[in-house]
């Protein structure tokens, strides 16, 4: 970590992999996402095992879910994945302010998604679909809530990183952090694609 930038002040092309610390961080994060895949895989299994256990008189998945709200949420989150790609591309091009703007837009999309999710949960509870209502509801809120918690953590994390880059600049210490946050953000998008399919679309068709 002795040289934070090249002698001529230029960042290397892939600043996240310029140091051993950076390479370790990126590889470690890939592995961590492997573990996260098992975590969500197990949550999905539990949900699939319990999704038909709605209980007498409780609203079913088909009655509850409004695909239009979920579709908007999906659109927002997938778009935020694109903006995070733009941020990483700007980083590789050495354009700090463009990167920061794209990160900020990613955060705003993330907040929008969270807002919709909170609204959605609020509606469900009013329709009699609480956390303790049935095995279906417990596993639904746990799976979707774990994802929402991940989004919230990501929003907080990327916001802190924006602050750090503003203060310390873009260098071989901050670049790996931005890069792994980007990986994380893609991961929670991919998880959402599965939630949209397994929870919502399959809930709609029965």
């Amino acid at each position: 970590m002795s040289a934070h930038t090249h002698a001529d002040g230029q960042l290397p092309h892939e600043p996240e992999k310029a140091t051993l610390e950076g390479r370790n961080k990126v590889l470690g994060f890939w592995l961590f996402l492997g573990g996260e895949t098992v975590l969500f895989g197990t949550l999905f299994s539990a949900f699939l095992a319990l999704r038909d256990q709605v209980g007498e008189g409780n609203p079913t998945a088909n009655e509850l879910f409004s695909l239009s709200t979920v579709a908007i949420a999906t659109f927002i989150l997938l778009t935020s994945s694109l903006t995070s790609v733009f941020a990483i591309q700007a980083m590789h091009a050495g354009k700090k302010s463009a990167m920061l703007w794209w990160l900020a837009i990613t955060v705003i999309f993330g907040l929008g998604f969270l807002g919709l999710e909170i609204y959605e949960f609020y509606e469900y509870v009013h329709e009699g679909h609480g956390f303790t209502t049935s095995a279906f509801s417990s596993s639904f809120y746990t799976l979707v809530g774990f994802h929402g918690g991940h989004v919230a953590f990501g929003v907080l994390w990327i916001s802190i990183l924006i602050g750090q880059v503003l203060k310390k600049g873009l260098n071989v210490v901050t670049a790996p952090k931005i890069y792994v946050a980007g990986m994380y953000w893609h991961f929670i998008d991919v998880v959402w694609v599965f939630i949209f399919t397994v929870v919502y679309l399959m809930g709609k068709v029965g």
């Binding site: 049935s134 417990s138 750090q164």
Partner: protein, 617 residues
């Protein structure tokens, strides 16, 4: 301490040094102390269980206390004793074996230790707050559900294991990255020592198995604390779901435990036979295959659950397949010894004793894998005998072998050989006395997990023998502790290569290893790197770099505080005091924030300072 850069790093001494250390060798020693302490607690619980069972209708402990002892013995031994002692060996040895100066994430290494430690402490606090967990180490629902375990016992299990599990997962990722990214020049994958390979596969198993446990514990916690319905059948929950989640973690877990022992045995047998490990590449292949198959066999723990003949047949066959790679290993160890000039040091005694013992455990494993027969063995002492043969006879003998072997490298002093051999013989004879006879108790129909038995069933004599055996094992452990004390006071100082036949890189550097491990990163020219240099007539390794300043990470107190935060949060949520729960989490997240914001520049050790003394314990 001179610094090439302007960053001055505070270096601590004494207790603060141990609380803030990020040095893998010191963290290894911390794991050994904490794991050893929990091993003694778990062992004491085992002896209390055996005292209760020495005669029929004994009333030494009550049925309730017996259930607590049984649960805590299993949970403590698996999660808080066996795994941490493996982590002790991993930390002490892996970076040295691959020629690295450090692990990939020194800070996370420390965090992993402290979360394990506080998770374990939280679990054991339950003894003093109205009752330990008592639903078995598998914590099956509905027994562990709020309806049937309405005190706090199982809450301690759920939250304590969750916190300890974070530490294990972090450790797994850390060692994977360390082994992939930090090997010395020339140390290709197929030149890695067998212990390193075993830890590599073990870490992958940790990474893919522990998150399943995390989810299982979260689901049970939600059921218990927040009235969720995962396992509440009245509201549509499913109790078999817990069995699946637990065992899809739990079966890989037993390979997480045994693979490192396989690695230790490979090193010890090869060193003390003065021969290259027979069939190295088949050993690697077998290790990877066992790791893979380990994920395919979880339902063999559930043959009597009622999954149907097709599922039982498939899982039965998959389980028996594991005997093939395991058999490869057994024969490789035998062929390594074949024709070698074997030295029966205490480390090697444990390793050689391991082989037949583990074969016996493996044979009963194949017997249990036959699903129709399992209906007869199920929940009897036959099962207890089987898994103690593979865990104590396999893993614990492996850990003892590893500790006797690497003790000089960890602490710089030779363990007393006479006491080591006394430890081996008392422990080994005690072990077989305790558990061999339990096979027959099981076949005669004695059920496991029951606090007593009636007179006149023919169980009396065998139970008495088993209890005497367990006391012998306790005696063996006491001899080991005496050995540690004697060695600490008057042990012989260890040279770089105290066994004189060291084959791998850890024996090329001083004992104990200096803070930076290698003055110059070594150049590896083949498998058994050090042995190869010896055979070529060289005294030491060829360096792969010139002497220069060595970058070191700074010590940090944050991992300790982060774990204390989780510890406090655990209590808060358990007793529904959300202010305290939130405050605990806030401490943890605040420490994470500080860690993210404050760059760790570390410090440099200059070439002229490189005559440093090693780790002092």
């Amino acid at each position: 301490m001179a610094h090439a850069h302007a960053h001055t790093v505070k270096r601590y001494r004494g207790l603060m040094d141990w609380l803030t250390t990020v040095d893998h060798k010191k963290i290894g020693i911390l794991y050994l102390i904490a794991g050893g302490l929990f091993f003694l607690i778990g062992g004491l619980e085992a002896i209390l269980i055996r005292i209760q069972l020495w005669k029929p209708l004994n009333d030494f402990v009550s049925a309730d206390t017996y259930n607590e002892l049984l649960t805590m013995h299993g949970t403590t031994m698996i999660f808080l004793a066996a795994m941490p002692m493996l982590f002790a060996l991993m930390n002490a040895v892996i970076p040295l074996q691959i020629g690295a100066r450090d692990v990939a994430f020194p800070f996370l290494n420390s965090l992993g230790f402290w979360t394990f430690f506080f998770g374990g402490v939280l679990l054991n606090v339950s003894w003093f707050t109205g009752g330990a967990p008592d639903a078995g180490w598998t914590s099956y629902v509905p027994l562990a559900s709020p309806a049937f375990s309405d005190d706090y016992g199982v809450d301690y299990y759920v939250i304590g294991l969750q916190i300890a599990g974070i530490g294990t997962l972090i450790g797994g990722i850390n060692f994977l990255v360390t082994i992939i990214n930090m090997r010395a020049p020339g140390m290709t994958f197929m030149r890695m020592p067998m212990f390193t390979w075993a830890i590599f596969v073990t870490s992958a198993l940790i990474l893919f198995a522990f998150p399943a446990l995390t989810v299982g514990l979260v689901a049970l916690m939600f059921d218990r604390l927040f009235e969720a319905n995962f396992f509440n059948v009245a509201n549509g929950g499913n109790t078999v779901l817990w069995e699946h989640i637990f065992w899809i973690f739990g079966h890989p877990e037993v390979y997480i435990l045994i693979l490192p022992a396989f690695g230790v045995i490979s090193e010890v047998v090869s060193t003390f036979s003065r021969k290259r490990l027979f069939g190295y590449s088949s050993m690697v292949f077998a290790t990877v295959l066992i790791g893979f198959l380990g994920f395919m066999v979880w339902a063999h723990h559930m043959f009597t659950t009622g999954l149907g003949p097709v599922a039982n047949a498939l899982f039965s066959i998959a389980t028996m397949l594991i005997a093939v790679p395991t058999g490869i290993k057994i024969f490789n160890w035998l062929f390594t010894m074949w024709g070698g000039s074997i030295k029966f040091t205490s480390a090697n005694l444990f390793a050689v004793g391991f082989v037949p013992t583990f074969v016996m455990g493996g044979v009963t494993g194949v017997m249990l894998a036959a699903a129709p027969a399992d209906f007869q063995y199920h929940d009897s002492y036959f099962v207890v005998a089987h898994f103690h043969y593979v865990i104590v006879g396999g893993l614990i003998l492996g850990i003892f072998a590893g500790l006797h072997y690497w003790w000089p490298k960890m602490f710089g002093k030779m363990l007393n050989e006479g006491l080591g051999k006394l430890t081996f013989w008392t422990f080994y004879i005690g072990f077989h006395m305790t558990f061999f006879i339990q096979h027959f108790l099981g076949l005669m129909g004695m059920p496991r997990r029951i606090y007593t038995y009636l007179d006149g069933l023919g169980f009396n004599g065998m139970n008495l023998i088993s209890t005497i055996g367990s006391l012998l094992m306790g005696l063996g452990t006491i001899f080991f502790i005496i050995n540690i004390i004697v060695t600490a006071i008057s042990g012989k100082k260890a040279s770089n290569d105290p066994w004189e036949d060291g084959r791998t890189l850890e024996w090329t550097i001083p004992s104990p290893a200096p803070e930076y491990n290698f003055k110059q990163t070594p150049l590896v020219r083949g498998y058994d790197a050090y042995w190869k240099e010896k055979m070529d007539g060289n005294k030491e390794m060829m360096p792969a770099e010139p002497l220069g300043p060595i970058h070191m990470p700074s010590p940090s107190i944050l991992p300790l505080f982060m774990s204390i935060g989780l510890f406090i949060a655990g209590f808060g949520f358990m007793y529904h005091n959300y202010a305290i729960g939130g405050a605990g989490l806030a401490i943890t997240f605040l420490c994470m924030l500080i860690r993210s914001l404050k760059d760790d520049h570390g410090f440099h050790i200059e070439p002229e300072e490189l005559e440093d003394k090693g780790v002092r314990a």
